[in-house]
Subunit: 211 residues, 2 copies
């Protein structure tokens, strides 16, 4: 007879595997991670990963989709919030920063896996189509028309913003190695960087220029 899917044992192991797999995949990537790595990190038998997820590839895609979701959902939400353009830009930067602080190797993981296998993104993407038409895009165009900000393509602007934030965390290991930074020093450097980004972007856009 069928088993109640809500009882602890089932959920617990499957969740344990997912958590372990997320950790290992984010650290080592798909190619660098082995089924045994994941099983060991989860403290379970190797066969269980395939019992619950059928294959390494399926387990990976499960987590990859979660990560893509985590990567985009917050930003998409903010891009469509009914707030001023200035506030929106600041909120975008600060949200992205917090996301990166909590998940330091989320970006390098996603970028590397998409680089290795772009087709995977197609399977996981779906709702990201919402990026094509956002309130942000409209607001930028309106602000330009009213002469409130300098003329700028909204996609270029958006790329500039996320580049500044996300590259910092992609290059974190390199920065720490080259400049001999501790975690605390990098955190301080990050905060300075965040402030510079906000300052530079808002100044560039909104500050009136001397004739």
């Amino acid at each position: 007879m069928k088993r109640d899917m809500n009882c602890p044992p089932f959920q617990k192991t499957e969740e344990k595997i997912k958590e372990a797999a997320k950790k290992v995949f984010l650290e080592k990537g798909f190619d660098g991670a082995t089924s045994r790595d994941i099983a060991e990190a989860a403290g379970i038998n190797i066969a269980l990963t395939n019992y619950y997820f059928r294959s390494k590839e399926k387990l990976f895609m499960n987590i990859f989709e979660d990560m893509i979701h985590l990567f985009f959902e917050g930003s998409v939400h903010i891009l469509n919030k009914p707030i001023s353009l200035r506030d929106k830009i600041v909120e975008l930067i600060e949200h992205d920063f917090e996301l990166m602080k909590k998940n330091p190797n989320l970006v390098i993981f996603i970028m590397n896996e998409v680089h290795r296998n772009p087709e995977r993104l197609v399977k996981a993407i779906g709702y990201v189509k919402q990026l094509h038409h956002t309130l942000f895009k409209i607001q930028v165009q309106e602000a330009i028309d009213k002469g409130e900000i300098r003329p700028v393509n909204s996609l270029n602007l958006m790329t500039m913003i996320v580049a500044s934030v996300q590259f910092l965390f992609i290059s974190k290991p390199m920065h720490m190695q080259i400049w001999q930074m501790s975690e605390a020093e990098f955190a301080r450097f990050s905060d300075d960087q965040k402030q510079l980004i906000i300052d530079m972007v808002t100044s560039y856009l909104f500050e009136p220029v001397k004739a």
Copy 2:
């Protein structure tokens, strides 16, 4: 008796292997690339990679060091050129852009391998210590003291610049997928992005602000 190391056959195979290995490693990374991949790409027997480079790890490090060198040498040179700060910033951005155009997956390769194994950077780094004291750093400080530019930490400024350029190419596969760009469209988008970076950075630094 010893063989003349300058005659064609020796150089040719070793160079063939290096070229193939560079291609494969840059595409798939250390974990994703196999000895057989490289041998096949070079059109040679598998045993030859170990005959010439002793191990996959040694072959990788050989190429990794080249790539680190390629990654830094141009920028370090420009950072120390005796030209104006404004010209230097523009030249830095344009040089990095050209480098990325010619080697689209150089940055994601380096960032990912350093992320996977930071100790490797120590072995390959050496001369990058030159980054610590550059003419650029002095110039920024002088310009601040003279009130010619806004006060800004030179490392933060430098990071901002390379982030904008390099992130674009790290995220190239993602951009092309999400926005359904062709290579040509991405190239155009890149150029717009480059112009925005130059415009934003120089405006922010040099433009006098209305009281």
